[in-house]
Symmetry: C2
Subunit: 343 residues, 2 copies
């Protein structure tokens, strides 16, 4: 956890982290929205960033074009391995910027400042970088940790409610992977008016759940697959929505994936039905729905593309109980269709 810094004033933290870094050796990547945060973030270092790559917002710009723009800035402006790339934004920016940093001269220094709840509790943690190819999520990427992740909860104050709800889906997943007490707190927390102190505690717990699992298995050979809970079906829904140029958020897709994979867990692993019903009800209340049955065949095709697959079929992480997961389960198309039907 020592690389993760919690704060309510990231400009102070950055002033410390950037001590001794030469002005022209700091590089920034942000999107059109988060670039507006940069002046404030860097106000205590007393200079404006010289080298800024601004990419277009949205998952569809987590692309080779954006990565190439960052590489090009770094190369043209003389970045070195010892230079720093500061990635300011949601998971799109930290994933894509982290990939660019991990491959520029085979790896330069990198700091993330995640600005969305989703990025703070999930995307910026665990050292997975990447971008999308032909609509396939994170088809290209590396395992590479940034030097520091600065989690500033005050940045969430201006985050749209819909974005906050999206990030909350990953916290629900972390709740399901850890213990009933934490899950309980998540299920009674009103995501619309989170009390700041309480919310900070929930975030910290979520970060530690993810960090504990990743530390045990950084390269996803085994138990890290637990974190894919909800994501086999969730990613397929997200890809399907992206192909149709709809405006679905990652966490919105994952929330629906959690319903379906929790249903599979009840059926295949004896996960308690009562907890399933409560989680499903919570998601149904706060998250938009999606006509999954209209796209069931497409969704199945997309699942077959999932990175976790081998030749045995579509690979799922399922739960036996809260905090008890079982990796490498294979489900048939029929089972999957039945699960989709619960969404």
């Amino acid at each position: 956890m020592e690389r993760i810094i919690f704060t309510t004033d990231s400009s102070l933290v950055l002033a410390e982290l950037l001590q001794g870094v030469r002005h022209d050796q700091l590089f920034v990547v942000a999107d059109k929205h988060t670039v507006g945060f940069c002046d404030k973030l860097l106000e205590k270092v007393n200079w404006m960033p010289l080298n800024v790559a601004v990419v277009d917002c949205g998952e569809e710009n987590k692309s080779l074009v954006s990565v190439a723009r960052v590489w090009s800035m770094l190369s043209k402006r003389g970045a070195r391995r010892s230079s720093i790339l500061l990635c300011v934004g949601g998971g799109m920016v930290t994933d894509m910027g982290g990939f660019a940093a991990s491959t520029f001269k085979r790896g330069m220094r990198c700091i993330y400042v995640p600005t969305t709840l989703l990025a703070q509790v999930d995307a910026s943690l665990g050292g997975k970088t990447g971008f999308n190819l032909d609509g396939l999520k994170n088809e290209i990427g590396t395992f590479s940790e940034p030097e520091r992740v600065v989690i500033d909860v005050s940045l969430l104050q201006t985050l749209p409610v819909r974005e906050r709800v999206s990030g909350y889906a990953e916290m629900l997943k972390h709740g399901l992977l850890s213990d009933m007490e934490y899950l309980e707190r998540l299920l009674v927390c009103d995501t619309n008016v989170p009390e700041r102190e309480e919310f900070l505690e929930l975030i910290k717990k979520s970060v530690s759940v993810k960090n504990d699992i990743v530390t045990q298995d950084p390269n996803e050979k085994g138990i890290r697959k637990a974190l894919n809970f909800g994501h086999t079906i969730g990613h397929a829904i997200e890809s399907c929505s992206m192909m149709r140029r709809e405006n679905m958020l990652h966490g919105e897709a994952i929330a629906l994936g959690i319903i379906a994979e929790l249903y599979l867990s009840v059926r295949e692993k004896g996960f308690p039905g009562e907890v399933y019903r409560r989680v499903r009800e919570f998601i149904k209340r706060y998250y938009p729905t999606y006509p999954v049955m209209e796209h069931a065949d497409t969704l199945y095709e997309l699942m077959l593309h999932d990175k976790k697959n081998d030749r045995k079929g579509v690979n799922f992480t399922l739960l036996e109980d809260v905090g008890q997961f079982s990796i490498n389960n294979y489900c048939t198309k029929e089972q999957i269709t039945e699960a989709l039907n619960q969404i």
Copy 2:
């Protein structure tokens, strides 16, 4: 060394390595020349490769365009992490294909079959992958080892003499980094008519010199920099030549870099002048020259871009004696110009 397999019949080795791999899960990348080797290489697995990406020959095609072509084939044809990318070619193909494999779904299985002397004794070893950006060598890349490197010396029989001489420059470097006895054998070996048995022994020794150094420092934090001997100036010459669209080979540039950096070693580190003169004479006899003094300023600018640099200036590995190197030396523009003048 267990990942490196020496053979005179790579089709036999591949038949063994590919046992159990499904036909449609083998992917091949080759260039327009080496693609002709593939049928023979795969004759003992009894099937023709289905998925082949062919890239244009030459260092200028070690580019993002080529990498993207490989990514696209892998993605469109349903490659998985457990699929194999077989890279058949010189360092251009193994570096670029290795990069594509190390980043596809954050890393798939990969086997190199280096077909040039340069790739066999250097490029395919040590886990550096990458491609060129805007004329800058290996500006983008990863540290990632293939699962196996199959070194088949019989493939060298059809290699043009000029290519063989180019690869020999890296062997000279390995000689300078190891011991006088090996260097002696290299300096008396006629590169035009290498006896096969003797040559195989020279190759094996070269591979072990490189492997020993890389194993101690895979991510180039310290002593691996020894392998950059000759490359600070050599890479600059190569980049300069590439910008001018000349047809210089990597090893030809490195041979000239060895002269200049050996001269710096004599001046700054007391490297024995007699050995310097013999190595210089050997290189002058077998390698084409280059008008370095006409491009001295450009070359210096290019050196400033070198990945090994930090803010202290141009970073050199120099030699105190054969087998005794000193990393992280900084030389001034004047010293470098004097060294260039010896080429």
